[in-house]
């Protein structure tokens, strides 16, 4: 599964993207954040405050308990500030 990170999320995780092997028990965005948070402090800090983070599945803004699968591209980022 392809993961992408933007803005301060990318800075804290120190990656802009990565490929992961999705474990069978990781079924939602929320599962994915918990699983990644166990890996190291970067993820844990990035995903700590759920109000400050947003996520997209295949370039579409998604919700915490939306299902994910191996072929999805999941992205994590703060609220948008364009324009």
């Amino acid at each position: 599964m392809k993961l992408k990170y933007f803005a301060w999320v990318a800075e804290i995780i120190e990656k802009r993207e990565e490929e992961i092997e999705l474990p069978d028990h990781v079924k939602t965005i929320d599962d994915l954040m918990n699983w990644l948070s166990d890996k190291n402090d970067g993820y844990r800090i990035a995903f700590n405050d759920k109000k400050k983070i947003k996520y997209a599945i295949n370039q579409t803004l998604s919700k915490e308990y939306d299902s994910i699968s191996r072929n999805d591209e999941v992205a994590f980022f703060p609220p948008m500030t364009g324009g």
Binding site: F6, A7, A56, A75, P78, M80, G82
Partner: protein, 148 residues
């Protein structure tokens, strides 16, 4: 509808010519240009971007605007990367037969671009750097349209 998410700058006049090469000139043209604020100690603005997602979202925003107002042409350019104070960030051109439509649609598009398109701004000052936070007023401005 023409949407570009890119690093390069734009020239308004060329974009109007591009529109008019597709179709005869329209009577009313509303244009918005957003620039990097000139601010004390601000050295650069860095704009991070998820281009595929940004383009999808802008398409949806324009589609919503087209459902509400009678528009002829919409052309949007949003830049990303490292920009100097005073440089162009965003261009929104809306054209129509009547000025009311292109004014309202232009403002609607900008309001949604601010909070729904996949861009993130980082201000680089002389003495610090800071990711811009989403403004409460930007969210409420956007919601105002939904209550119409």
């Amino acid at each position: 509808m023409h949407i570009e998410v890119k690093e390069d700058d734009f020239i308004i006049e060329n974009e109007i010519v591009a529109i008019e090469n597709i179709k005869d000139p329209d009577a009313a043209i509303s244009i918005f240009v957003g620039k990097v604020r000139k601010e004390k100690k601000l050295i650069k603005l860095f704009i991070d971007c998820y281009p595929e997602m940004a383009e999808n979202e802008i398409q949806k925003i324009v589609q919503n605007a087209s459902n509400r107002w009678k528009l002829n042409q919409v052309r949007i350019i949003h830049r990303y990367g490292s920009l100097d104070p005073g440089e162009n960030i965003v261009l929104v051109i809306t054209t129509s037969d009547h000025r009311g439509d292109c004014y309202s649609a232009n403002q609607f598009i900008m309001d949604f671009l601010k909070s729904e398109a996949a861009f993130w701004k980082k201000e680089i000052f002389l003495d610090k750097t800071k990711w811009v936070e989403q403004k409460v007023t930007d969210i409420s401005t956007m919601k105002d349209w939904q209550e119409d």
